[in-house]
């Protein structure tokens, strides 16, 4: 699945412009979006996940302009991407209810046991198997973050968009998550991940990732990690340092 933003602007009502003329094609398996607070990372992910409609500009999915499609076509495309919030949201019920929510919404009639097994397996990978029947409000921030990522992973999206996935994770969990994501994109040639983060370990640990640097709603620079690692990466560090991130 190929997503391409062409001269995209985004404006929060009534007048806050958050993205300015962003053109970006998600061609790589792993794309990392970095940049200071309020630079527009979350907004960009929400645009890429087809949840927000651009103020100006177009989004091409394959050869089609997404926002000109009819509702049914949009939904079919939208179901192939999942965005995971930086502040996860849960419904009432248990962790398992939450992880299975996507299946319920999509009315997928897979074998119920199979889905639950899959969910439990994912929980186990992240050391959360004991939380399946607990209410989310009784869990820690990091645990919740992982559960919201699992809720997306269990649906096996083509494109997974993660907003600050490691912000509350310890080193161990961070490694497990990144290793899992690395495997996830390898398993199927169509899969891609896009991560917005302040965690500079991510572009370093995820091999061959493509880095997009945002600043004040604009793409300040972009390139593969090792290209950008030199001058641009230093500049990024300086930007981050100056902004006190």
């Amino acid at each position: 699945m190929n997503i391409k933003l062409v001269d995209v602007w985004y404006k929060y009502p009534p007048s806050k412009i958050a993205l300015r003329r962003v053109s970006l094609e998600i061609t790589e398996k792993k794309t990392i979006i970095v940049g200071p607070n309020a630079s527009g990372k979350t907004t960009l992910l929400k645009i890429l996940s087809l949840m927000y409609k651009p103020w100006k500009g177009a989004i091409l999915v394959g050869s089609k302009s997404y926002w000109e499609l009819d509702e049914k076509e949009q939904l079919a495309i939208r179901r192939r991407l999942i965005y995971v919030h930086e502040k996860p949201v849960f419904i009432r019920g248990t962790v398992l209810d939450n992880i299975l929510l996507g299946f319920k919404i999509r009315k997928i009639n897979l074998n119920k046991h199979e889905i639950i097994d899959k969910a439990l397996h994912l929980l186990e990978i992240f050391g959360l198997e004991k939380t399946a029947n607990i209410k989310p409000r009784n869990l820690s921030t990091g645990q919740l973050q992982l559960i919201s990522i699992i809720r997306a992973l269990v649906l096996e999206p083509d494109v997974l968009l993660l907003d600050e996935p490691t912000a509350n994770l310890d080193i161990e969990k961070r490694k497990i998550l990144l290793r899992y994501l690395e495997e996830y994109v390898k398993k199927n040639s169509g899969r891609k991940i896009v991560i917005a983060t302040h965690d500079l370990l991510i572009p370093l640990l995820l091999e061959d990732s493509y880095v997009v640097v945002l600043n004040d709603g604009r793409i300040a620079s972009r390139g593969y990690v090792d290209e950008i690692l030199g001058y641009e990466y230093e500049k990024l560090f300086n930007v981050l340092k100056k902004k006190g991130t």
Binding site: I82, I91, G102
Partner: protein
């Protein structure tokens, strides 16, 4: 103390009338609040300012206003609704609308975006997203409706002015109490007052219970 059949009838009538009024008000207050939250624009604040200002409007003023509209020479006089239970229902529904809209708006404002986005990103259509949002908001909606019911069943101005306190027809707890006091029948007034307080306390207890479940 005596609980005669008239008292029982009055209590049942009060609950029916105020319950229907709350239900009526919810029919327009819930969609309106949702619309105001999801189509945010500059006039939203203006509209909300208007509703907030009207939350504490004196019940007699609403009663008077409705009386003028429903009285024989008023614009809706031909309906013949004055001094009917339906008139009280309509009046109480109007009375509690600003309260419902203000509270629902606040609640929806806090939760709409997050549930909406959660539903969308997991592959929901707009209709499914609305369903998920309403389902998740149900306890809060119930709390607000109970508060509205509380205000409706405890008010006197509307019931008296457009209901007329007709025995066996439009007499409700509050109008009955005021009448019994005027007649000097304090025992009956106290009995009804006791029931009214019990109802209102019962409601606030259920609200506390529901709020505990929302967390």
């Amino acid at each position: 103390m005596f609980v005669d059949s008239e008292v029982v009838e009055i209590i049942i009538r009060s609950i029916t009338i105020s319950g229907t009024a709350t239900f009526l008000a919810s029919l327009w207050s819930i969609p309106l609040s949702f619309l105001l939250v999801s189509r945010y624009s500059k006039i939203t604040n203006l509209i909300m300012g208007f509703f907030n200002a009207l939350v504490g409007v004196p019940t007699v003023v609403v009663g008077l206003f409705l009386y003028m509209i429903l009285s024989r020479s008023g614009p809706l006089g031909f309906l013949g609704m004055l001094y009917t239970p339906q008139a009280i229902m309509l009046g109480e529904a109007i009375l509690i609308t600003p309260l419902l809209v203000s509270l629902l708006y606040e609640s929806f404002h806090r939760t709409r975006e997050k549930y909406w986005e959660l539903a969308l990103t997991l592959g929901a259509s707009d209709r499914q997203a609305l369903k998920l949002f309403l389902l998740q908001s149900l306890p809060e909606i119930l709390v607000v409706l109970l508060l509205g019911f509380s205000r409706a069943i405890g008010e006197l101005g509307v019931a008296l002015l457009v209901g007329g306190n007709i025995k066996g027809y439009t007499r409700v707890m509050t109008t009955a109490i005021s009448l019994e006091v005027v007649k000097g029948e304090f025992e009956k007034a106290l009995l009804l007052g006791g029931f009214l307080i019990t109802t209102v306390l019962g409601i606030s207890t259920s609200i506390r219970f529901l709020k505990g479940r929302i967390e």
